[in-house]
Symmetry: C2
Amino acid sequence: MEKLGSQTIRFNNPPSILDCNSIVGPKEADGPLAKYFDKTLEDEFWGEKSWEKAESKIIKENVNMLISKSGISVDQIDCCFAGDLLNQCISSSFGLRESNIPFFGVFGACSTFVESMSLGAICCEGFAQNVLCATSSHFCSAEKQFRFPLELGNQRPQTSQWTVTGSGAVILSKNGPGPYITHITPGKIVDMGIKDANNMGAAMAPAFVNTLITHFLDTGRTPEYYDGIFSGDLGYVGKEIAIDIAKSQGYDIKPNYDDCGVLIFDKDKQDTHAGGSGCACCGTVFSGYLYKLMKERKLNKILLIATGALMNSTSSQQGESIPGIAHAISIEL
Amino acid sequence: MEKLGSQTIRFNNPPSILDCNSIVGPKEADGPLAKYFDKTLEDEFWGEKSWEKAESKIIKENVNMLISKSGISVDQIDCCFAGDLLNQCISSSFGLRESNIPFFGVFGACSTFVESMSLGAICCEGFAQNVLCATSSHFCSAEKQFRFPLELGNQRPQTSQWTVTGSGAVILSKNGPGPYITHITPGKIVDMGIKDANNMGAAMAPAFVNTLITHFLDTGRTPEYYDGIFSGDLGYVGKEIAIDIAKSQGYDIKPNYDDCGVLIFDKDKQDTHAGGSGCACCGTVFSGYLYKLMKERKLNKILLIATGALMNSTSSQQGESIPGIAHAISIEL
């Protein structure tokens, strides 16, 4: 691998995505992408006594399904990158504690899925034959932790997003038939001073554009190079802001850009306001939907940029603004 | 780099530790290692209005001090790995939001420092010239978040540990005069069913021994190979358990093994019970103390194994046990 420009890494032997798997909750199973997900749940608990335990079960079973169908055994997986939104990332550590795979915990908020794949790809070009990357989020555990008890039935502002319940997971391999991770552009933290914790799209959009344009400058590529550019969870509000900022900097991304948080729910029928969010938004939309489109050759080159808001409820209560981050990966056939 | 045995990675061009820096709080400045730390604080707030903001300032200023004295500029640092104990790792993301360095957030609880150095070393043998690794913890922010309000003045059990206030940071470089990171052994999650959140040493000791013995089996080395084996924060209780478990499995580590949490405080004079803990325990003891001993050739080969308890207060309240993890790095001259 080698550095390209200021922030991008180009792989000389691009790691192949061996397989993906996705599990989603009942709300996602009512959405427009329902048929693409590998498993859909009928309720938010899945037989567990708490939402946190349910989220752990979701990532655990998703990883088990993925390993089963991948055709490789657990001891052929050199290491695992995983993280989630729960305090101290307990969904991942409890979900994967019986996995018996060397474990690197990562935290990039909703950018975690692409952060994991970026680090996994670096390992594959280094020492690893196979690397597992997994993430999860859960609407109920996230609302409880970041906002208000669900039992209150609070009204949600139109700029707020709906945390996706689910898990996305991939296995990357040193060799394989593709699709390949050809480049990664790890992002810098960008904080433009947004303080509204009910408008994450606005807080994260500047980080998205920063990484996007850095990727273009580093690689010499333009938006047209890609069949699709997908952000992780900017939602309707952040998507429009991102298009505007990119345009003001000379990049017209509108024709081939969309957002996983926009794709996963039907805004009009599902009352999800500004769209989906959470680690599992990008994770399930890629693992369930985009990966399948690539395997069917309906998409051949995509740029996946997951965005994260690096805050917690204490930082908001203490008057802090919301730092954003965005990590990009080029996935090509 | 190449895989050695089941879990270890050996570097063909071992990354060099270019420099380290450490800042600690007032309690640590009263302890036996005081003279080794680069900066000591007079109070827990450092002019900030909250403990969380103070912790962010500590990691920020520690990284600034490190970069200043390292002789390299920010734009020569290819990426940064950082994490901490606060929910959603806000100490790192707020502390480093102005750093202008591509940022990978990691979460390994108190194993974060060695996890960061492990991933940094992989990047150095890959694409990076220089990688920054940083972590922090803070006694007051940790007590407030994980245990009880400090104002309550709760009694602490004798098995409880004292979270280190401070930050440790290192810059790893592709080339340099050493000390070198020659091997890493990333750990698996180990959960032996311990549920006492006031006895982290007992919860983490099995993970420590698991990684330790895996490292010996993978490399063919024995405890005597190292001038010193150091765990991150098992404390007095965990240290004794670790020695016992290792002995039961045929490894006598007692002669050359110690724990950073044992070294950093004077148990009798400082009322710190089972010893130090937190991401900054291993981080400051390595950056402040062990690194200097290596530069002075008082230690030539060490094995640093940081341990983490991958739980949160919700998981304990829901009756879960405490999964542990331990990551090891060999540092040699």
